[in-house]
């Protein structure tokens, strides 16, 4: 990587505009100057510890409840330590509660949505960041404006549209409306306008490359870290999306959140089975957060409005 693209990389990997050190010596200097960087006292650690506990405890307890049985969950005091039935409950949720099918469906839905969002957002983000065209600013404002329109409001016509297309209870009904995202376009635009030097694009033009070629061989390599982050964030959103899948899908062909509601709405409530389902449906994302936590955190921070 050249020095030109270095600030951009630190931007996605965890730094912000305030800390863009060219070298090591400068980094320490900048750290001290950036923001308010007092050392945390004991009180701050205690408060943060409580916060981390509150964040993680419900998930821990999901695991505890999923590892005991229904009678134990329904006793007081509630169990605080894991029991022996975790794997048998997970297996039951996978088979009986259609969680297996739901997981596969969610994987397809979230995977396709994340891929297409990343691709279209990078294309549009590149155009908004580096190409000149009439109406650019107006169109960009339009993109931002669409973030203010909650998709839930169009649900009735969307439902009618899907039944006309014959997509009711089918995965395309969930996939198509979310193939693009305004947040994604804006995110890639912000990233590329900083990370992609104008000279690189100009050099491509001088070499006679057409726009798609420039996109493919110049923009994509630069955009890759941001694309990875956008992929993960979009995947999380698509995996967890609730309202529209709940409306248009049914139990024969559910995504994970839809299957979970059905699990809890049954007449005989088996609490540890419900919790096993919830755990199963959350596990893939938890693994992703543990492995790529740094990138996801910095991606969310890079997408924030600053100043």
């Amino acid at each position: 990587m050249t020095t030109q693209s270095l600030p951009a990389r630190t931007d996605v990997r965890g730094g912000t505009a305030a800390e863009k050190p060219p070298g090591r010596g400068g980094r320490r200097l900048l750290r001290q100057r950036a923001g308010r960087q007092h050392h945390a006292g004991p009180l701050a650690y205690v408060l943060l510890g409580i916060m981390a506990l509150l964040s993680i405890f419900p998930l821990y307890w999901t695991m505890v409840a999923a590892s005991t049985d229904n009678t134990r969950v329904s006793q007081t005091p509630p169990p605080f330590l894991p029991g022996p039935n975790l794997f048998s409950n997970l297996a039951r949720a996978w088979d009986e509660a259609a969680m297996g099918k739901a997981m596969v469906n969610s994987l397809i839905v979230a995977g396709v949505i994340a891929l297409s969002t990343v691709m279209f957002a990078t294309l549009a983000g590149f155009a908004f960041a580096k190409l000149r065209f009439k109406g650019r600013n107006a169109l960009l404002m339009l993109v931002i404006g669409t973030m203010m329109v909650p998709p839930q409001l169009g649900v009735v016509p969307l439902f009618m549209m899907m039944s006309e297309l014959g997509w009711s209870q089918q995965l395309p009904a969930v996939i198509f409306p979310t193939l693009v995202s305004a947040v994604g376009v804006f995110f890639m635009r912000q990233y590329l306008s900083e990370a992609l030097p104008d000279e690189l694009v100009e050099a491509g033009r001088v070499d006679g490359a057409h726009s798609l070629r420039i996109f493919w061989s110049i923009v994509l390599p630069v955009a890759r870290p941001a694309m990875a982050v956008l992929f993960m964030i979009t995947f999380v959103h698509a995996w967890n999306d609730f309202f529209w899948p709940f409306v248009v899908l049914d139990m024969t062909n559910p995504t994970v959140p839809v299957a979970l509601t059905q699990l809890s709405a049954g007449y005989v409530r088996d609490q540890s089975l419900i919790m096993a389902g919830a755990l199963l449906g959350t596990l893939p994302l938890l693994v992703m957060f543990v492995v790529f936590g740094r990138q996801i955190v910095s991606g969310i921070m890079a997408g924030a409005v600053k100043g």
């Binding site: 505009a17 308010r36 960087q37 993680i56 169009g154 649900v155 969307l158 549209m161 600053k306």
Partner: protein, 331 residues
Amino acid sequence: MATSTTKVPAGGTPPGPPGEPSARGTARRRGALLHRLDIKGAPYAFVAPFFVVFAAFSFYPLVYTSWISLHDVELATLDVMEWVALDNYVDLWGDSRFWNALRNTVTIGVISTVPQLLMALGLAHLLNYRMCASLFFRVASLVPYATSVAAAALVFTMIFERDFGMINWALGTVGIDPVDWEADKWPAQVAISTIVIWRWTGYNALLYLAAMQAIPADRYEAASLDGASRWQQFTHVTVPGIRSTIVFTIVLSTIGATQLFGEPLIFGQGPNGVTGGADNQYQTLGLLLYEEGWKNYQMGRSATVAWAMFLLLILVFVVQRLIKRLRSRTS
């Protein structure tokens, strides 16, 4: 190929003699045309997918919602639309369930948004310290964001369970009588808000943290030279410094609050969910929309509720604008 055609003018080769209209010349002209087409057209082609998908699956449905709301449409016969003009709106206006859902949406929205953003502000402040394991704390605060509405609501429904839930057990150990979190109105709304707060506080905190880190350090230095305490620095430098992010999160949370659906639905556990409890004590506008359309099969009425939600959003933003303008005039 393209390389050779466009390189010719760029390389500065003199144009061929006038008496020789060579194949090279036409190729060059065609190349130049393609080049211009590419320069002019490619940007639109690149942004087009976004706008096409948005127009087809977001904008068109939104507009069409208002048309449907002027009709009687049944779920079983979606292609039969009977014009009823404003009847649906008149009915909605006179329907106590609508006003109840509107009130619930507003109260749950306030109970969930205000503490959420205040806590996020505090959390961001803590995360902004230099410390060990800062990455751990950041990821930990983002874990709820990775949990789906469905999973989170299921867990909290159990934690708030009346007979064996953890909260009532904990209250019991300090001698407080158990609370019926589902059946009583305010406890139910607090419990539902808790789910929202849990899921979104860490996310908002990270947005604030990003903005805090972009505040220039010399503002803090100037403030401390003026003798400002840590708290004064927080209220006079930090908060104004991240004002636009705060506005952004308020906007996002408000939109989220008007759309609230999954949390109360699952909290009601089955048939009670759609109606928002036996007495509609926590039915939101989102639930009412779903109940009208997919339980009572009245799609026209459902569209009317959706349109009412949209108007509510617009109203909130107008009010927010007005407050902002009044404020800037007074100060």
